[in-house]
């Protein structure tokens, strides 16, 4: 095999183990060396491409799928099919009117379920600069002013199909979860909501809802007030 063909083949695939490549390497030490170098280069390439994957990516994908499945449960029989079709028809009308289809009635219920599903973020320990946080907040017409709280996680998440911002703030004893979502989420809004462990409060600002979820045992009972004061809102 001539040198140029060999090099082209190895550049295209350093792990080419076809018989003619093996023979060429056995016949010519320089070729074997070149192949070895290119394999090393590929290892470097592999390392450079090995981007960090967000934590719990698989879990979040499975969560979206289970929510998607809840929207259109599998029909078991023809009898049930007819029944389910008529129920779905009604659900369809209602959910279309509300702009969202899922099994949650209120924003609060959804927020608590979301919080529980992604509870792992409450132990995250990321550091963000004021500027980084404000870039994320800018899409919602909000920004933190100077005395901003310690945010340990901030990322985009979805309320059904509605893009929202998910943040975790480290309090003295318990983390506090914040969701910032557009007001027109299609779900019913309730000012207060709770489950066994968490209390939630919903504050409406401009075109957004600020949902603040705190642990029931958190001694600080004025989180909602403090946090809503650390935001500055711009009107579009």
């Amino acid at each position: 095999m001539d040198d140029l063909t060999f090099r082209k083949r190895i550049y295209a695939n350093p792990h080419d183990n076809a018989q003619d490549i093996i023979d060429a390497c056995n016949d010519d030490k320089a070729k074997a060396k070149f192949k070895c170098e290119m394999k090393k280069f590929d290892a470097k390439l592999n390392s450079a491409l090995n981007i960090k994957v967000p934590d719990n990516l698989a879990e979040r994908i499975l969560l979206s799928q289970s929510m998607d499945t809840q929207k259109s449960p599998k029909k078991h029989t023809k009898v049930y099919l007819a029944l389910a079709a008529s129920i779905l028809f009604c659900v369809g009308i209602v959910s279309t009117r509300m702009g969202l289809g899922n099994s949650f009635d209120t924003v609060g219920e959804y927020a608590l379920a979301h919080n529980a599903a992604e509870i792992v973020h409450s132990h995250d320990d990321n550091h963000y600069s004021l500027q980084q946080l404000n870039t994320k907040l800018s899409g919602y017409g909000a920004q933190f002013i100077n005395a901003f709280p310690k945010v340990s996680f901030a990322g985009t998440c979805y309320f059904g199909r509605i893009k929202s911002l998910h943040m975790v703030i480290q309090g003295d004893k318990y983390p506090v979860t914040i969701f910032l979502i557009p007001k027109e989420s299609g779900l019913e809004q309730t000012p207060y909501f709770s489950d066994q462990n968490y209390n939630g409060e919903s504050i409406e600002v401009n075109d957004n809802q600020l949902l603040i979820i705190t642990h029931k045992d958190d001694p600080n009972k004025s989180w909602a007030k403090e946090l809503s004061q650390s935001f500055q809102w711009t009107t579009f």
């Binding site: 450079a48 990516l57 979206s64 998607d68 078991h76 023809k78 899409g139």
Partner: protein, 184 residues
């Protein structure tokens, strides 16, 4: 009526589908995300793309007959979703960095410098060279599989792979040479 109600069979096939789907998500979501980041050069968009890809995969899981082709099937869905993003035009993004160079899993500092340079060069590669390389290195696909995914002739794929590696290697060697002069 006995034949009419078949709940056991139905719920079993649903369970099988769910198991198959979970296995796919766990096996391929990381690689799909990495591929997505290099495809659209934005980690947030990449995550959305992967979410959308798997939702579509769930809805048409029945069409996947050959388990061995699962990864190529998912990559094809992801590429289609990415193309759709351009058709829609206004994909509501908040924070796009102009020169995005993603973080990799942390390694030693010397390696990190080299990685950073390589990553920058990879983002600078023409997409037609970058994509087959990503499919080969991240996806582990063969030349034939890449030509199937990209709908290109295999020779074209091999030439692009050759050019992509050639450009990257030259860039890295130029840097080493420069460093030599600087130190000498």
């Amino acid at each position: 009526m006995g034949n009419f109600f078949r709940p056991t069979r139905v719920s079993l096939s649903m369970k099988t589908k769910q198991m198959k789907y979970e296995a796919l998500v766990r096996a391929y979501s990381d690689d799909l995300y990495r591929y997505g980041v290099w495809l659209c050069r934005d980690p947030h968009v990449a995550e959305d793309l992967v979410q959308e890809t798997f939702l579509r995969a769930w809805r048409s899981l029945e069409s996947l007959k050959d388990q061995g082709a699962a990864k190529a099937w998912l990559i094809t869905i992801l590429r289609r979703e990415n193309a759709r993003r351009f058709e829609r035009k206004q994909f509501d993004l908040v924070d796009i960095e102009d020169t995005f160079v993603p973080d990799t899993i942390s390694v030693g500092s010397e390696q990190e410098v080299e990685n950073h340079l390589l990553r920058r060069k990879i983002t600078e590669l023409e997409p037609e060279y970058r994509e087959p390389l990503m499919l080969q290195v991240i996806g582990g696909f063969s030349g034939e599989e890449i030509s199937g995914i990209l709908e290109l002739n295999k020779n074209t794929v091999m030439t692009r792979l050759f050019r992509a590696r050639n450009q990257l290697k030259e860039a890295l060697e130029a840097k080493e040479q420069y460093r030599g002069i600087e130190n000498g």
